[in-house]
Symmetry: C2
Subunit: 488 residues, 2 copies
C-alpha cells in the first residue's frame, strides 16, 4: 500500500493528494471544485468541530443557523466587503425546472426567474447583520455571541482537497457589542481559542499575529490570524478573527440605546475556521508512509491486530484491553479479519494514521506481553499485559507532545531573519519557511515583495520585539519585524 | 408575556407562530421561505441531532459529506425521481458578479454562465449514487452505511417555520447492499430507530407503517413512515425510510461482483428526518402559556429562581443544587438577574418550556425547603433540601413519561373507525384526527377521498390486523384497515 504514495521529496503536491486519496479522506465529485468528504476525513472534522464547539460554548457562545442564500443587493451594502466577496460566487437565478419539450430531460423554466438573484453565501456577515437589526434594540440585548456551523461556497479556479474547495464546511462566529473595546477583546479571545486548539489538539504550532491592511478580511478594521508552517516550507493561514468596527452596523443600520438612552451603532466581530484545518493537519504531521494523526483528533486511537490471525485466546485478551482502554475514553478497533495478513494490516493502519497499534501473538501471550507500535516514530516494543491500558493512555499523551515538538522544531528551524532584500529573496526561494524582516508599514513595500518573490506578509506577530531596522524595499525605518512566507 | 400568545382554540395556526416567535425558536429572514433558527431553537435541534447521531453510529453507520450542488442532468437519470424533485428547486446558472457599469451595485456577469446548470440539492440520492459507482466494486465493499447531516432546498410556495421551509436542515442516510433482503431490513431498522427516537426522546407517539404507492418517495419501491398527531387533529409525517430497490443503482450503473464473481446491481435505501421534527415537538406538547419541552431534549432542564431576588444565602444554596444536578447530567440555569421580578421570570420560563423550576426564598430556606414547579402540569410543591437533586432527577423522568402518556391518550382519543364514507367525512371534518378505514389498494379510491375530504392516506400500519371489509369509495373488498387524516 505505502508503495503507492509519492514521496514528499519527489513531488510534495502529489504526495498530499496521494495521502488524501489512500487514507480515504476525500474524493473528487462530479461538481467542479467540490469534494466529497469520505467517512474517515469527516470523522476527523467531527472531532475538530466537537472540540471547537465545546471551547466556543465555554466562552459564552451559542449556535444558531442563518439562510444559505443572500439577496444580491445585500452584498453591495458594505463597500469593501463586496469587493472581497461578491465576485466569484454561485448565483441562483431561477427556482424551477421543467421537462424539455423535446423529451431529453429537464431545462430551466424561463418563467421562474427570480426578481432578485440569490447568492450562495461565501460568508454570512450581510445576512446576519440584516437579522441583528431586528434583534438589537438596547444595551440589554448585548453582547450577542453567536456562532454558526455551515457550508459556504466561493467559486475558486484552482482547488485542492480541504485546502481550497469551492464548497467547504466551517464555523463562522458573529458577535455584537456595545463598545469598541469589548469587540476587540472578543476578537482577541477567539484568536487565543484558535491558537490553543491548533497547538493543544492539532499539535500544530502557530504564530499569532495581526494581518497587514492589505491582507485583512474584506470589511474588517483588524484581522488576527494564526499561521502554521507546512512541511514544504509554505505557510497556511489556519484561522482568522476580525474586529469589524462599526462597518456592518452602519451598512445595515444596527443601532442600540446605550444606558444613557442615546443611540449608537453596534460594534462587531466575526471569526472562522474551516475544513481547511484538515488539510493543515495532514500536511503538518504525515510522512511518506501515510497519514499521521495526533491522538486527540484521531477517529481510531488504537488498533489491535491479532498475529497471525484471530484465535479465541487472542480475542479474549484483545477484548479485555479494548474494554480497559474504552474506560479511559480511548477509541479502539480490533481487526478481526482473518483473511488479511498482519503485514498488510500494519501498512494499512500506518496509511490511515492510527497512533498506536497493539499486536497480539501466541508467543507474546506466553510471555504475558504484547507488542506496542507507535505511528509517529515507527518504533515498537514489547510491553507486559500488566498495566497495558495505563501504558497506552500515557503513550498517547507522549505521541501528542512528540508531534507538537517535532513540528515546532521544524517550524523554528525554518524561520530565518533577513536584513536585506537579497538575503530575503534567497531564503524565500532556496530554503522556504518564514522569513522575519523589517517592514515600513506601507502596502507598496508589501506588494513589491509579493511581486518579486511571491511571498506574502503572513502577519505582524503579537510577540514582535521593539527593534529598529529598515524596510527591505524602501529602506524606510521600521520598529519591528514581520513574517513573510509563500503561502497556501 | 403569556398574554401575548393567541390561544389554540382561537387560532391554532397563529398560536404556533406565536410560540415559535415568543419562545425565541426561529425568525423570518430576508430570503423568501428561509427561516433563521435562533439559539434556543437550534439548541433543541442540536439535542435531537446528537441523539440521532448516536443511534445511527450504534447501528453501524458513519457520516460523510457530499456536494451541495447537483448537475442538472443527474436529476433526469431516475425517471420517478425527476418527477418528484426536479421541479421546484434553486438553480445556479452563473458563477460571477460584476460591478454594474452604472455604479449601482453588482449585477450577474453574463460571461460567467455555467455550461450546465447546478441544482441546490433537494435530496442527495443522485449525487451520492454517482459517487458510489466509484466506491463499490465487489461484495467486500458492501454494505456501505453512510449518513450525511446537511442543508437542502425545496422551493416551497407556502412555508411555515420548521414544518415547511425552502431551506431546511436534515440528515439523509444512503446505504448500499448486496441483497434485496438486506436493504429491506436496513430500511426497517431505521424505521424502528426513528420510532424509538420519536417516542423515547420527543415523547411523541407515532404510528409505524408503510406508505401507499401514491405517497411513496419519488424513486422508492417501499416507503416506511412514522406518523404523529398534532393537537389540532392533523397528522405530521415525522420521518421516512425508503427501500429503493435497484432503481438508483441502475440509473447510475452501480454494480458489484458477488462472491460467485458475477456482476449484479446494488440494492439501496435512503432515509431522513429534518428540522420539521422541531415543529412536531412544539405542536405535540405546548400549551397556551408557551412551549413545553420533554426533559430529554430541553436545552435547559431546570431553572433556579431566587425569590424575590439573589442574596448570598440563596445563591449558595442555588449553586449547591446546581452542582448536584450537573453531577447527574442535568443542565441547570440560575437566574441571577436582580432587576426582574419572580413573577416575570416564571412567565418567561413557562414560555420557554423549561421542564422544572426551583424557587428559593428566604422563608423556604428557614424551613430547609424549596419550591419545585413542573412546566407540564403547572403544579408546584415544597420539597425538603435533603435529597432535592435525586427528587428533581426522578421528576424529570416523570415529566418525560407524563408528556408521552398525555400525547398518546390524545392520539388514541383522536383515532376513530369509519365503515362508510358518510361517517368518514363527518369524522374528518368535525373531529379530525386519524380515521381508520378499509381501502381497496387502488390509487383511484385514495385520490377520490383526498379530492372529497382533503384527507390523505397516512400509512398502512405495521400492526394492522387481518379483517375483511369494504373500500369506502369503491366498495371493493379489503383485508385490513389503513389510516387517513388531514396532514401538514
Amino acid at each position: 500500500m505505502a508503495k503507492e504514495i509519492t514521496s514528499r521529496e519527489e513531488d510534495y503536491s502529489k504526495w498530499y493528494l496521494d495521502i488524501v486519496r489512500k487514507a480515504g479522506l476525500a474524493d473528487n465529485s462530479a461538481v467542479r471544485g467540490c469534494m466529497v468528504i469520505k467517512p474517515t476525513g469527516y470523522a476527523i472534522w467531527e472531532n475538530m468541530r466537537d472540540q471547537l464547539d465545546k471551547m466556543f460554548k465555554e466562552t459564552g457562545h451559542v449556535n444558531a443557523y442563518f439562510p444559505l442564500f443572500i439577496p444580491k443587493s445585500f452584498l453591495s451594502k458594505e463597500a469593501d466587503h463586496v469587493e472581497g466577496f461578491a465576485k466569484e460566487c454561485a448565483v441562483v437565478t431561477h427556482h424551477r425546472l421543467m421537462n424539455n419539450p423535446d423529451g431529453s430531460g429537464v431545462v430551466v423554466d424561463p418563467s421562474a426567474k427570480l426578481e432578485e438573484e440569490l447568492i450562495v453565501r461565501p460568508t454570512s456577515e450581510t445576512i446576519i447583520w440584516n437579522t441583528y437589526k431586528d434583534w438589537i434594540n438596547s444595551y440589554r440585548d448585548l453582547p450577542l455571541l453567536i456562532n454558526q456551523w455551515a457550508n459556504v461556497v466561493r467559486w475558486e479556479m484552482r482547488t485542492r482537497p480541504f485546502l481550497r474547495t469551492a464548497e467547504f464546511l466551517w464555523q463562522e462566529g458573529h458577535t455584537a457589542h456595545a463598545t469598541s473595546q469589548e469587540a476587540i477583546e472578543e476578537s482577541q479571545l477567539i484568536h487565543e481559542v484558535y491558537a490553543r486548539f491548533a497547538e493543544d489538539y492539532m499539535a500544530m504550532p502557530v504564530i499569532k499575529g495581526a494581518k497587514s491592511a492589505n491582507e485583512r478580511f474584506a470589511g474588517a478594521v483588524e484581522t488576527y490570524t494564526i499561521e502554521a508552517l507546512m512541511q514544504d516550507g509554505k505557510a497556511l493561514q489556519a484561522g482568522t478573527s476580525h474586529f469589524l468596527g462599526q462597518n456592518f452596523a452602519k451598512a445595515f443600520d444596527v443601532k442600540y440605546l446605550n444606558s444613557a438612552n442615546k443611540e449608537e451603532y453596534v460594534w462587531a466581530t466575526s471569526w472562522g475556521v474551516s475544513t481547511r484545518l484538515v488539510g493543515g493537519l495532514i500536511m503538518t504531521h504525515s510522512d511518506d508512509e501515510g497519514l499521521v494523526l495526533p491522538p486527540k483528533l484521531a477517529p481510531t486511537q488504537v488498533v489491535i491486530v491479532p498475529i497471525p490471525k484471530p484465535s479465541p485466546e487472542i480475542m479474549e485478551v484483545a477484548a479485555k484491553i479494548k474494554k480497559e482502554l474504552n474506560a479511559h475514553g480511548v477509541s479502539v478497533k480490533i481487526d478481526e479479519d482473518a483473511k488479511k495478513r498482519p503485514g498488510f494490516k500494519f501498512a494499512e493502519y500506518e496509511m490511515k494514521g492510527v497512533p498506536v497499534r497493539i499486536g497480539i501473538g501466541k508467543r507474546d501471550l506466553e510471555k504475558n506481553q504484547v507488542e506496542v507500535a507507535r505511528r509517529d516514530t515507527k518504533t515498537k516494543e514489547s510491553h507486559s499485559l500488566d498495566g497495558i491500558a495505563t501504558h497506552v493512555v500515557e503513550l498517547l499523551d507522549v505521541i501528542q507532545s512528540n508531534l507538537f515538538n517535532k513540528a515546532k522544531q521544524f517550524r523554528d528551524d525554518m524561520t530565518s531573519e533577513a536584513n536585506d532584500f537579497k538575503t530575503f529573496e534567497e531564503l524565500i526561494n532556496d530554503k522556504g519557511g518564514f522569513v522575519s524582516a523589517h517592514w515600513d508599514g506601507t502596502v507598496e513595500s508589501e506588494l513589491k515583495i509579493k511581486e518579486l518573490t511571491k511571498a506574502t506578509l503572513r502577519c505582524i506577530p503579537n510577540d514582535a520585539v521593539e527593534e529598529s531596522g529598515k524596510d527591505l524595499i524602501s529602506g524606510a525605518p521600521s520598529s519591528k519585524r514581520v513574517l513573510f512566507a509563500k503561502a497556501y
